[in-house]
């Protein structure tokens, strides 16, 4: 049987300062005597107002409160003391002769913690005082832990925002709305320019939300930004993110996501969707949803290697691209109904009365949810009609380092096996940066070399006919064939050579050769310059360079670009 040692319990000393509030002098003295006998320092107040003032001036640990007093009664004084006592727990015990249910309820209702009936018994009082010390210790510990947690969360939030949530470089181009269910969002949005001005956008949704969901966002931010700036393709970036998340996150945590490469030069959209709601392309000229791209891949971080199934489609003027997280369609109303797909489609159709698609969807969501608690992060990204927008100048002041100088050459030859798994452009970009080539020149060189390399690979090595690309359906067919042929590739090669003369001409000479058959000599002679070159890629290179010439066979091209900085 459990033996309770009351004697040793009551032999414990109480500590701290007790405030006795009573308008009768004899009551104050009697209670004061008991309290000082058991170990308290005691201070006195004659009415509620004086008690509140004393409480503000001194460090009071426990209060003994009379009920009926002049100036301010015990109920009001208790309410005020409790209002003031936010940082620590200060028990208030009523001392009353009224042994009535009403009085007791009222004492607790105004914020009091317990009640003692007169005449006060010393042992009872001491036992209650010791009990409240226990409560106070727990309260203080919780409050300390709470403060610590808040400080740590604030710190983590600052680190997180600067690493992840910080402004997207392509902010002026896109509309982004992130509405988190808690301090940390499990949804992330990144947007970054490639060196040629194309834009990569990624909307990711980690399992769950809050801090545990946000952890994976940091490496994703680094990989996405770094690799995009270096000119990597969406596929390479997504593969790298997948591998990193697979290594980093425990089983059961992953990132669903939706990615778009907006190519202003190719006028194409390349989309990957892994576990997210459909990507919508709304054309304001056709006044309809032109494309819906559903999830074709598993989310990232589940398996070490993943089939991505990226899809490329033409990007038309008047296209608006809308990316959403599932928090939109799964938002709940007060009665527990889901927002759903139909309301989303209606909100998109209702865009005309709002400044943007996001604004229209937000308006519909607000009306539907009516302030119901938000359970998941709600994120939206809208790419406005960038193709009908006047051209903007890139920021020339960025990264004005020392001038590129000296003389160097850089050469690389890739066979079929290497071509299948390696894109040399990002490596070249890093090299150019190390050699202090100015950002503006790097961006132009990225475009020139990418176009020449793609041309050599797609037409020379893979033997694709760019004429396929002329129609909208052919466009997609072209990229399907490209993928299929690249997969089966066993023969062929591409070589790239770049020379820089920083001393005299300040020119870059770029030579790209492939193993293909090149142009038919007769065709070259017959066709006008515009038809001869396969598509707008080469025309673009020609407009950027001093000169561009093919060898007679048509499988080796040399372009000369003059350094601007």
């Amino acid at each position: 049987m459990f033996e309770v040692d009351t004697l040793s319990f009551l032999n414990k000393a109480v500590k701290g300062t007790a405030l006795v509030v009573d308008d009768t002098r004899i009551n104050r003295l009697l209670l004061g005597k008991i309290l000082s006998d058991i170990g308290y320092q005691v201070v006195f107040a004659e009415h509620g107002r004086e008690a509140v003032e004393l409480f503000q001036q001194q460090d009071i640990d426990i209060v003994f409160m009379d009920v009926l007093m002049p100036v301010m009664d015990g109920y009001q004084a208790t309410a005020e003391i409790k209002r003031l006592s936010t940082q620590k727990f200060t028990p208030v015990l009523f001392v009353t002769a009224q042994n009535e249910v009403d009085a007791l309820v009222k004492c607790i209702a105004c914020g009091g913690d317990d009640i003692l009936f007169k005449p006060v018994h010393q042992a009872v009082l001491k036992a209650k005082a010791l009990g409240f010390e226990r409560t106070r210790a727990i309260y203080n510990e919780i409050s300390r832990l709470h403060n610590q947690l808040r400080e740590e969360e604030e710190l983590a939030e600052r680190v997180f925002s600067s690493a992840v949530a910080n402004s997207h470089c392509a902010d002026q181009e896109l509309l982004v709305s992130l509405d988190s269910a808690s301090t940390f969002s499990g949804d992330v949005v990144f947007a970054e320019y490639r060196p040629n001005g194309d834009i990569h956008v990624l909307l990711g949704d980690f399992t769950g939300h809050g801090l545990r969901a946000a952890i994976g966002a940091m490496p994703v931010a680094d990989i996405f930004r770094g690799m995009t700036r270096k000119g990597y393709t969406g596929e390479a970036i997504l593969r790298q993110i997948n591998r990193r998340l697979h290594r980093l996150l425990p089983t059961g945590m992953f990132m669903a996501g939706i990615f778009v490469e907006l190519s202003l030069q190719q006028k194409s959209l390349t989309v990957w969707n892994g576990g997210m709601p459909e990507l919508l392309v709304y054309n304001t000229q056709q006044q309809s949803i032109r494309e819906r791209l559903r999830s074709e891949s598993i989310p990232l971080g589940i398996q070490n290697e993943v089939e991505l199934n990226l899809k490329t489609l033409p990007w038309l003027p008047y296209d608006h691209v809308v990316l959403l997280s599932d928090g939109v369609t799964e938002a709940l109303s007060v009665s527990g109904e889901m927002f759903g797909e139909q309301r989303l489609i209606n909100a998109i159709a209702d865009k005309a009365s709002h400044p943007s698609f996001i604004a229209s969807i937000q308006h519909a969501l607000e009306g539907f949810c009516e302030g119901a608690e938000q359970l998941d992060d709600i994120s939206m990204v809208e790419v406005p009609d960038l193709l009908n927008r006047p051209n903007q100048q890139a920021d020339d002041t960025y990264n004005a380092g020392p001038l590129a100088a000296g003389q160097w050459s850089w050469q690389l030859e890739l066979d079929a096996t290497s071509l299948k798994k390696f894109t040399p452009i990002p490596l070249l970009m890093t090299t150019l940066q190390e050699l202090s080539v100015h950002q503006t020149d790097r961006n132009i060189l990225f475009t020139v070399v990418s176009e020449l390399f793609n041309n050599a690979f797609e037409h020379g090595v893979l033997g694709l006919d760019s004429a396929i690309k002329t129609s909208a359906s052919g466009f997609e067919e072209y990229y399907r064939q490209r993928k299929r042929r690249a997969k089966k590739l066993t023969e062929g090669s591409v070589s790239i050579a770049i020379e820089f003369d920083g001393k005299q001409t300040r020119q870059f000479t770029i030579q790209v050769a492939d193993s293909g058959n090149g142009f038919e000599a007769s065709q070259v002679a017959e066709k006008s310059a515009e038809q001869q070159y396969s598509g707008r890629g080469l025309r673009l290179v020609e407009s950027l360079c001093e000169s561009m010439t093919f060898n007679p066979q048509g499988n080796c091209v040399a372009a000369v670009y003059r350094c601007q900085h």
């Binding site: 949704d205 399992t207 945590m253 669903a256 559903r294």
Partner: protein, 103 residues
């Protein structure tokens, strides 16, 4: 409780059934269904016929169950009879490529 499990030694099946909302709140109960059960050679079945909603944490829990099945050499893991709403979520996440789903 919205999770129950039944081990049938004769047929060699462990059937875990989830009813109602399948989300993070069921995390512990879900794990408890298989964690201390010897499942070597047992066929694992996750019966979702009575579940009406599932979130991404539930997808995560399925991956944990799959991992457990592989580690402890269970016979197979089958997702049984997902409702249309749940099937849609499984399809969006392309989990039909990772798990066996049976209607």
């Amino acid at each position: 409780m919205s999770i129950s499990s039944q081990l049938d030694q004769d047929s060699g099946q462990l059937v875990i059934s989830v009813a109602g909302r399948f989300d993070y709140s069921l995390h512990r109960d879900f794990r408890a269904c298989y964690e201390h059960v010897s499942v070597e050679g047992i066929q694992l079945i996750l019966d979702l016929s009575s579940a009406d909603y599932m979130d991404s944490s539930a997808l995560g829990m399925m991956l944990l169950l799959k991992e457990h099945a592989e580690k402890s050499q269970a016979e197979a893991l089958t997702i049984r009879k997902p409702s249309p709403a749940i099937l849609k979520i499984l399809e969006i996440a392309n989990f039909d490529k990772l798990l066996k789903i049976e209607n």
